[in-house]
């Protein structure tokens, strides 16, 4: 029983961390219509910078500044934002598919970089050993896992609440306006390229935060964690849940991660040994099928984006309404 409970907690912790990344992608794709093909790069840089800033001293390698954990986590998120700024500056003005290709390229380049820059990233073996916040104070491993689950759920709730407010605010309307009709938004005096760059950066910061939490939880990060499949999984979660809907994003994370874990468990338990070496391959086909079938059959996801109707509370005051539009 305790085994099942710990496994459930492990599952929920990972789901909550991934849900944060999916919410970040939902801001970029669901609300602003920005295609990010390299989610894993922003997730990964958040994880690596967090562990380099906050981690222990490693012989002959860079890092080990032992910065307090919350600051290290924010440092990782900030690094993800900085990377998004560099990439976005070159691409958010251009054709949309360029951004898809460029971000995909960032992820490939990032994986090659951390695999080789041993001095910085520990190379292929990664960075192991990280003192998790309050781990010694709590002592009991089971209790610590409960604590960590609460921690990531709080983080998820904060991100969720923050993004929901952002999306409901005039800024959220501006994002959707640009997504739907860039020319019209331009005609209203908005700068679509700048707003899109901002949304891209905010989304990337959230992904970096998720990466930092992920590396904290495992106290380990390696190039293996930056495999392109993570990008596909996070995208599948958003599409299945419903892009443009934060509730859908969280639900999609549960459904897709649940399917992934269950299929892995099923293959490992019931498949004959000669099939088991192909377990990963079969799971990848599953993710591909989820993506394609969801797009064909239910393109708007389980919880579709809701029509946003802006209620005009200031009717009778045309001056104020105009002011609102200009925000």
């Amino acid at each position: 029983m305790i085994g099942f409970a710990s496994y459930l907690m492990f599952f929920l912790t990972i789901t909550a961390i991934l849900a944060i990344a999916v919410l970040g992608l939902n801001l970029q794709w669901g609300n602003a219509g920005i295609f990010n093909g390299g989610v894993v790069a922003f997730f990964g840089i958040g994880a690596y910078v967090m562990i380099i800033l906050g981690g222990p001293v490693r012989a002959g390698e860079f890092g080990g500044f032992q910065v307090v954990w919350p600051i290290a986590l924010l440092g990782g998120a900030a690094a993800a934002g900085a990377l998004a700024y560099i990439v976005g500056l070159a691409t958010t003005r251009l054709r949309h598919d360029y951004l898809a290709i460029a971000t995909f390229g960032v992820a490939v380049a990032m994986e090659a970089f951390v695999r080789n820059a041993t001095y910085l990233s520990g190379g292929a073996k990664g960075i192991r050993g990280f003192e998790r916040p309050l781990e010694e104070a709590i002592g009991n491993p089971f209790l610590y896992n409960v604590f960590f689950l609460v921690l990531v759920v709080v983080a998820l709730a904060v991100v969720y609440a923050g993004l929901s407010r952002l999306v409901a605010s005039p800024y959220g309307r501006l994002l959707r306006a640009i997504r739907e009709d860039e020319t019209a938004a331009k005609a209203l005096g908005k700068n679509p390229a700048r707003v899109r760059l901002e949304a891209f950066i905010i989304g990337a910061v959230i992904m970096g935060l998720a990466g930092g939490l992920y590396a904290t939880f495992y106290a380990f990060i390696s190039p293996q964690d930056l495999a392109p499949i993570l990008t596909f999984q996070i995208w599948a979660m958003l599409i299945v849940g419903g892009a443009g809907n934060n509730r859908g994003a969280v639900l999609g994370t549960f459904v897709v991660w649940g399917c992934w874990v269950a299929s892995g468990f099923g293959l490992a338990s019931f498949a004959p040994p000669h099939i088991q070496i192909y377990a990963g391959t079969i799971q990848y086909i599953l993710i591909g099928l989820i993506i394609v079938i969801a797009l064909l059959l239910r393109p708007r996801g389980l919880l579709p984006e809701q029509l946003q109707i802006t209620t005009r509370t200031t009717s009778g005051f045309p001056g104020r309404t105009n002011q609102k539009l200009q925000n």
């Binding site: 390229g105 490939v108 599409i239």
Partner: protein, 303 residues
């Protein structure tokens, strides 16, 4: 230096063939097809299968052509593979992309192509195994063309270059000398006007996929001759293909050819400067440099 130049041209010729199909699809169907590189794998493995079948049915075909490790069986298998890979591309379009074109925006198509790539790559891995394979177990020895500067060339590499050039020349003739080619170029320039003139859009879309898939199959076989076949070869090549298409300018066939050679040369010269492990990052740097310096590529038009 000379060696890097030659290697770059060799890799470039394979990339060019792949990038032509990619750029055609991007121009005519207006979406970045992340599954295009998987067509190279489909072509390469298809040729492997028919090579085995033909060799079993007619053993004399196993004779190697001259000093090359390409047998008559493989040459015939490649021709079969061109057709089958083209049909595969048409089939995937019919099953997935065509349905989405009707309802969804171009970025949804990009995303669907992510999913298609995952499926194609892993189905190949499931059917042919995760290990890498070779067309021929005979070791092909490199011939020293000159000692100073050192230049080693395998006979296979000569035939790879020749086949690539022939394929490009054939495409050039098709586009510039045949009615079909004129129709395709008309659709690329202005789809609406082309249709007013009685060009059938669905058949042009099929032709685009046939050409793209066919060239990808040739590229896949050539890549397999010089390297090894592996289910992940598409994943390893996809970024280089995009880089070639972007450098050349999306939609330009001659741009894709030139872009392929530029990316090939950049990758092979980069090894002189950087540790080999960073090689996967080179196409990305080429893309970034192009977007900063010349956002529409060398031959692309602003859109």
């Amino acid at each position: 230096m000379i060696q890097a130049l030659f290697d770059g041209i060799l890799v470039g010729s394979v990339l060019s063939l792949g990038a032509i199909g990619l750029t055609l699809v991007m121009h005519i169907l207006r979406f970045a097809n992340f599954s295009h590189a998987e067509l190279l794998s489909v072509g390469a493995y298809c040729a492997l299968t028919f090579d085995a079948i033909l060799s079993a049915v007619a053993p004399p075909l196993q004779t190697l052509i001259g000093p090359f490790s390409m047998s008559f069986a493989l040459a015939l298998a490649t021709i079969v593979s061109v057709g089958i890979t083209g049909l595969t591309a048409v089939l995937v379009d019919r099953l997935v992309f065509k349905r989405l074109r009707a309802t969804a925006g171009p970025l949804t198509l990009v995303f669907a192509s992510f999913g298609v790539a995952l499926i194609m790559r892993n189905v190949i891995a499931l059917v042919f195994g995760l290990h890498s394979q070779r067309y021929s177990d005979d070791i092909s020895f490199a011939v020293m063309i000159s000692a100073d500067p050192l230049l080693l060339i395998k006979p296979d590499q000569v035939i790879i270059l020749c086949i690539a050039v022939v394929a490009m020349a054939a495409l050039h003739l098709l586009l510039n000398r045949t009615t079909l080619g004129f129709a395709l170029r008309a659709v690329a320039e202005n789809p609406t006007l082309a249709q007013v003139n009685g060009i059938s859009m669905p058949s042009m879309v099929r032709l685009t996929w046939m050409i793209g898939g066919g060239l990808a199959a040739v590229a896949g076989v050539l890549y397999g001759l010089d390297n090894q076949l592996s289910p992940v070869m598409g994943r390893d090549l996809v970024l280089s293909l995009f880089a070639a298409a972007i450098v050349g300018g999306l939609g330009s066939v001659s741009g894709a050819v030139l872009g392929g050679f530029i990316v090939g040369l950049a990758s092979s010269f980069a090894i002189l400067l950087l540790p080999a492990g960073y090689k996967p990052a080179i196409p990305f740097l080429v893309i970034l440099a192009t977007l900063y310096l010349r956002p529409n590529g060398l031959f692309g038009e602003a859109r």
